[in-house]
């Protein structure tokens, strides 16, 4: 749904990050971290990226998406676990005061860029 806007945001950040001294830069790969809880569908993101990257230095770049699991920690007993399902109740002590440590990421980690020709 909003993957189009996210793809545009990615291209903007990537384009701004290309070292200025490169002539005809071509972005080969973009490394992303996307949390399981983030409201982003990787397949839609790839599709949108392909469309909006046309005629930019990021055209044809590979989107490498590392999916980040949801890691939760209980505030009461400090037990931590990886939530496979959206159940955020402590498995050990049944407390409902649970912090989500990871799973909401939507980050660009790095880009791989070369000079073309």
């Amino acid at each position: 749904m909003h993957e189009m806007g996210i793809a545009m945001e990615i291209i903007k950040i990537v384009t701004d990050s290309i070292p200025k001294h490169l002539k005809n830069p071509k972005v080969e790969k973009i490394n992303l971290k996307v949390g399981k809880l983030a409201a982003v569908v990787p397949e839609s993101l790839r599709f949108c990226f392909e469309v909006v990257s046309q005629n930019t230095p990021a055209e044809g770049a590979l989107l490498h998406i590392e999916e980040i699991p949801v890691n939760a920690m209980c505030q009461s007993c400090s037990y931590s676990w990886t939530a496979i399902e959206p159940v955020f109740i402590c498995e050990k002590c049944n407390s409902g005061s649970v912090d989500l440590l990871t799973g909401r990421e939507l980050d660009i980690v790095s880009i791989e860029v070369e000079e073309d020709g």
């Binding site: 409201a39 005061s97 791989e112």
Partner: protein
């Protein structure tokens, strides 16, 4: 060559949202971001809510739901200032971004306003991801939707501070299993208050209004 970035994709929106938050703090106005799927009853709840808040709590509304509806006309009748955002102008967006809210807020005189309500675009996915600088987030779920909605949209139910279960007047006519939906909400956000109410009959409104007034009070003395 590899260029390390470690940058949030939505950092521009996040920064703008933080500026909004600072602006709203200076104005001492509580900002409430109301979200739901289309037709869950956001506008209906707001009409009844505003009536109960007035004249004690000065309220203003930003309506971001798709322009073709007459939400703004319905809300203007309550007598409070209303700004309609036409999301179509912004590419028919599925959510309100922080800069859009900022533009709309600048059309309002917030000097004597204590509560600014933002009716977000009807959608349970995207608005959960976009901070607008709000203080509290509310999700509305109506009993005509599936009991499994919270499990399908966990982020929305996780990021909200309260949930409103609306259209309870229809319960006698439906197979909707209220206990199941409450259990599903509690799995995702155990501490979150859930107010069961009907925007039609106004049953259940007093607890919700009391909670909301309390939030407004807290902000005033922040």
């Amino acid at each position: 060559m590899e260029v390390k970035l470690v940058k949030k994709v939505l950092s521009v929106n996040d920064t703008m949202a933080q500026q909004n938050r600072q602006f709203f703090l200076e104005k001492k106005v509580l900002v409430l971001n109301m979200m739901s799927s289309p037709g869950a009853g956001k506008t209906a709840i707001l009409e009844k809510t505003i009536k109960r808040l007035l004249p004690e709590i000065k309220t203003a509304v930003i309506v971001g739901d798709i322009c073709t509806t007459n939400d703004a006309d319905r809300l203007i009748k309550t007598g409070v200032p209303v700004v309609q955002i036409c999301t179509d102008q912004f590419g028919g967006d599925c959510h309100l971004a922080a800069h859009v809210v900022r533009n709309a807020a600048s059309d309002l005189n917030l000097d004597h306003v204590q509560l600014l309500i933002v009716e977000n675009v009807g959608n349970l996915v995207c608005p959960a991801e976009f901070d607008i600088g709000e203080d509290v987030r509310i999700v509305v779920l109506s009993v005509t939707e599936g009991e499994d909605k919270p499990l399908k949209y966990p982020l929305m139910f996780r990021v909200c501070d309260a949930a409103l279960l609306n259209k309870t007047d229809l319960l006698p006519y439906l197979d909707f299993d209220k206990e199941t939906v409450l259990k599903n909400i509690r799995q995702i956000h155990p501490d979150m208050p859930v107010f069961e109410l009907s925007a039609k009959t106004e049953e259940g409104f007093s607890d919700w209004i009391e909670w909301l007034k309390n939030e407004v009070e807290k902000k005033r003395y922040e």
